[in-house]
């Protein structure tokens, strides 16, 4: 079943009607759809270590024993509740960041580069120190699903509000709430050119991505006419910039709104609706069966590592039955044996850095030195230009092996300023892998034998098996 390159391109070109007008997104979709050219690694899976690998940014020393003791069900419920208080170190680090103190219009007085650095730092602090790790995982998923690129226009200044009030607030809530918050978010409005969308000269950018990437999916059954009609419904949704008004907040500009009648996915939206037109569109899309299926596929892919059809159908049914309750969709997946038997997933750079720092029990300020390593690996928070979010596929990340190794060595040998490894309490292998070594680990064990602790730790972090979760 090995298709040639030419076949893949032909098939992809034939299969994607949106390709000609949709910009870059379809390319990503095409590559994501192809079969992996190489087999996935095989090896022993510890059920608890695997559960933690999928529901957190990696285990800290003691986590695995703790979850084993409390039982998977109690652990999953506690993570879904997400009510654990934050660590003092987390609070201390986050309190140093001005981006959460200063409103988006005042942030504009600061250098954009500094704001972007703080956004990156905040993402690392949350991943490494956040107490409610499943929520942080969902923030990771939704931040890609509703991707915003901080280098475009003024979005950097709106991003901290987006992180808190849109993504984190709704990460374990309901999908319709999340979608509605995103649609009203100045960061998203700016990123997808809503300010250019006005009566007579509709800009389709947001309307298209809203359906293709946020709700229905590219094969979700909408037409080019639907894109144009949705864009018309959303005319006038823009960012406040008038004198004596709170700049950088959502604004509905009546004068720019197209108040004529529209037809969206077969539903008539009567003339004269004003802002309600857009609200109605969000409602229609949020409740659409294609949205249920598309969002289900994202969640299943994110936690099970592959688009398992049976799980997608089951999760989509839950979506429709519960009004898009995210916790209700997650719980059966996380408690399923399929987490354990699902294919391994590559750690993206944020996963890799956070899981390494957590495994070695390091104290970190998530400062410039640590962020530089992550940047080298190619994943900066809000640094993905395309609206589809950082890719999940393995091949997108295999070019960063050298920066991964250099990070592993620097972390193990104390060469990252502001980041210091702590007590492991066990062997480097068990600290990093969360289980006893197995026959398939013999190369790593042999490599570590006779080495000093730092070298052994560097090798465990740099090993092929630690690149997967």
């Amino acid at each position: 079943m090995i298709a040639t390159r030419r076949d893949l391109l032909k098939a992809a070109a034939a299969g994607s009607i949106a390709a000609a007008v949709g910009g870059c997104t379809p390319i990503t979709a095409k590559i994501a759809e192809r079969d992996p050219a190489l087999p996935l690694p095989t090896g022993p899976v510890d059920p608890t270590a695997r559960l933690l690998a999928r529901t957190s940014f990696g285990h800290r020393p003691g986590d695995i024993a703790r979850v084993q003791a409390m039982g998977h069900a109690a652990y999953v419920d506690s993570e879904l509740a997400a009510k654990k208080g934050e660590d003092p170190r987390f609070k201390e680090l986050l309190n140093r960041l001005e981006i959460f103190e200063i409103g988006s219009s005042d942030l504009e007085d600061f250098h954009k580069e500094e704001v972007i650095e703080q956004l990156h730092q905040a993402a690392l602090i949350h991943a490494i120190y956040g107490s409610n790790q499943l929520r942080e995982r969902m923030v990771d998923l939704w931040s890609d699903h509703f991707n915003v690129y901080s280098l475009k226009g003024d979005t950097a200044f709106r991003q901290s509000t987006e992180d808190v009030a849109v993504i984190r607030k709704n990460a374990l809530g309901t999908f319709p709430d999340l979608l509605r918050a995103s649609a009203h978010s100045p960061a998203m409005l700016g990123y997808l050119d809503s300010q250019l969308n006005r009566k007579g000269v509709a800009n389709e950018n947001y309307a298209r991505e809203l359906m293709e990437l946020h709700t229905l999916g590219v094969h979700g059954g909408y037409t080019q006419t639907d894109v144009q009609e949705v864009a018309r419904c959303l005319t006038g949704w823009t960012i406040e910039n008038r004198f004596l008004h709170r700049k950088g907040t959502f604004r509905f500009d009546e004068d720019r709104h197209d108040n004529g009648e529209k037809l969206v996915l077969g539903q008539r939206i009567p003339a004269g609706g004003g802002q309600e037109d857009g609200e109605r569109v969000i409602e229609i899309l949020a409740a659409h069966p294609a949205t249920a299926k598309f969002v289900a596929s994202k969640i299943v892919r994110y936690f099970l590592g592959s688009p398992d059809e049976a799980w997608i159908d089951r999760t989509a049914e839950t979506f429709l039955a519960t009004g898009g309750d995210i916790k209700a969709m997650l719980r059966p997946i996380l408690l399923s044996k399929d987490i354990e038997t699902s294919p391994p997933m590559i750690k993206r750079p944020l996963d890799y850095v956070a899981s390494s720092v957590r495994a070695v029990n390091a104290d970190t300020d998530a400062g410039t030195a640590l962020r530089a390593h992550l940047t080298q690996m190619g994943q900066v928070a809000h640094g993905w230009p395309m609206p589809d979010g950082y890719p999940m596929r393995t091949s997108a990340w295999t070019g960063s092996m050298l920066p991964r190794w250099n990070f592993a060595i620097a972390l193990a040998t104390g060469q990252i300023q502001g980041t210091n490894a702590g007590e492991l309490g066990t062997t480097p292998f068990e600290a990093t892998h969360g289980r006893h070594p197995h026959e398939s680990d013999k190369a790593l064990i042999a490599a570590c034998t006779g080495k000093d602790l730092k070298t052994a730790l560097a090798l465990c972090l740099a090993s092929p098996s630690f690149q997967w979760r």
Partner: protein, 439 residues
């Protein structure tokens, strides 16, 4: 499978021979633990013999690349294209540039004249090193190129061009090179596939997770002792998955780069690179191209073109920049020699400059300018231009050369014909694909 595991040859053939060679070199260079003592001597020999190791790589029978290596050189600041490729047959050029105009080839002055290309256009005298390349048919010029961006803002115009858009505003936020790499990701997974010789990633590579930004190939190194290096060789040897394969490729690349001795690299055919950022960058690119390490795109910059004041004519500031550009490009083509068969170089700038010189003996931001294409398959020896004319009524309302060729038509042609890209419409959404610039 060969597609994913081999990037030394883009043709998917001859995999075994190429890999065998590198594995042998690797064995000598990074001895296994058991053979440390025995191997130490060999390792030392290999270290001392780096130049001959390079020779071995370069002298091995050259494999035909399936696709070209693309080198982009971005002249940042808005290069004055009217003084690079001079429309000397246009009387208004001399009327509007009484001080800065470059004399026509037929002018009675003995020096500082344009070098005739085709009876209408001439090259700036400082671009003289490029003339033989043009005459041999390996350099094409496309004049009156540009984007739709009429903001004349460096930032907007550069953003538009690096993102592959008609103009800044709506459209994909990723870079055009990144989208090309994404569309052809399955063809090449070398860790050295895309390199920006720069401190930070240029916008044209935004969205390419596998691209590297470095100013010196020496920066691509493992920050560890030989013990860790050798242990990584052992750890990444057995796996059959993508990560293990990528790890082996990275180790091979490190190994090959180690043997290359980029610093001591000697150019072929008597080529001498200027000692400038561009010269050093292109020298490293040449070294990589010859070593066949999977380099597919290299992005280089040359700044300093924003010549509002004291631009100079046949000598002076711009002439100095052009001198460096021409010498670096001439050295590169001479150095690569027959290897230029698989290489295409594109030179571009975010916009050209106003026809009329200003009071500060400089020029202000304009619109259209020339693009250079260099390589053995370019439709060379020719200035391609839908020439809009330079008479006042033929200029745009601001007094600038009108854009008649979308820069994306040229780039699209290169990607489609030379880079194996079958989705150029997605790299350059909404742009008409050009043709006739490369074979």
């Amino acid at each position: 499978m060969a597609i994913k595991t081999d990037w030394f040859t883009c043709d998917g053939q001859g995999v075994a021979t190429r890999r065998e060679k590198l594995t042998l070199g690797q064995a000598a260079w990074t001895p296994s633990r058991r053979g440390v003592l025995v191997g130490a001597g060999l390792g030392l020999l290999s270290w001392l013999g780096r130049d001959s190791a390079l020779a071995q790589v370069t002298l091995s029978p050259a494999k035909e690349r399936k696709h070209d290596v693309l080198i982009t050189i971005f002249l940042r600041g808005g290069a004055d294209g009217l003084n690079m490729v001079i429309p000397y047959a246009e009387p208004n050029y001399y009327r509007r540039r009484p001080s800065l105009g470059i004399a026509a080839p037929t002018d009675s002055r003995t020096k500082g004249r344009a070098l005739d290309l085709d009876g209408f256009f001439g090259l700036h005298p400082s671009l003289a090193p490029l003339l033989p390349i043009f005459r041999s048919g390996e350099m094409a010029i496309v004049h009156a190129c540009g984007s739709d961006d009429s903001s004349r803002s460096h930032f907007e115009a550069m953003a538009a061009m690096e993102r592959g858009l008609a103009r800044e505003g709506s459209g994909p936020a990723s870079g055009w090179v990144a989208r090309h790499l994404l569309a052809t990701e399955h063809a090449n997974d070398s860790p050295l596939r895309a390199i920006a010789f720069a401190d930070t990633m240029p916008d044209s590579l935004r969205g390419a997770t596998n691209a590297v930004a470095l100013t010196n190939l020496g920066d691509f190194k493992l920050e560890a002792d030989n013990g860790i290096h050798s242990a990584l060789n052992d750890l990444y040897k057995p796996g059959r998955d993508e990560v293990a394969a990528a790890g082996r490729q990275t180790l091979s690349a490190l190994d090959a780069l180690g043997r290359l001795d980029v610093k001591g690299y000697k150019a072929s055919n008597g080529a001498t690179y200027p000692n400038s950022d561009l010269g050093n960058g292109l020298r490293q690119v040449a070294c990589l191209v010859k070593a066949r390490l999977g380099l597919e795109v290299a992005c280089l910059d040359k700044g300093g073109w924003d010549t509002h004041v004291a631009q100079g004519a046949d000598s002076g500031w711009q002439a100095m920049l052009l001198d460096d550009l021409a010498k670096a490009l001439a050295a590169f083509t001479a150095d690569l020699g027959s290897e230029m068969k698989g290489v295409t170089v594109v030179v571009m700038s975010e916009f050209g400059r106003r026809l009329e010189e200003n009071d500060g003996l400089g020029t202000d931001h304009g619109r259209a300018g020339p693009m250079f294409l260099i390589g053995q398959t370019v439709a060379g020896g020719k200035v391609h231009a839908k020439w809009p004319g330079l008479e006042d009524h033929q200029l745009d309302p601001t007094g600038d050369l009108v854009v008649t060729t979308d820069y994306r038509a040229v780039l699209g042609d290169v990607l489609a014909r030379r880079m194996g890209n079958e989705s150029t419409d997605e790299v350059f959404p909404g742009a008409a694909l050009g043709s006739g610039y490369v074979a």
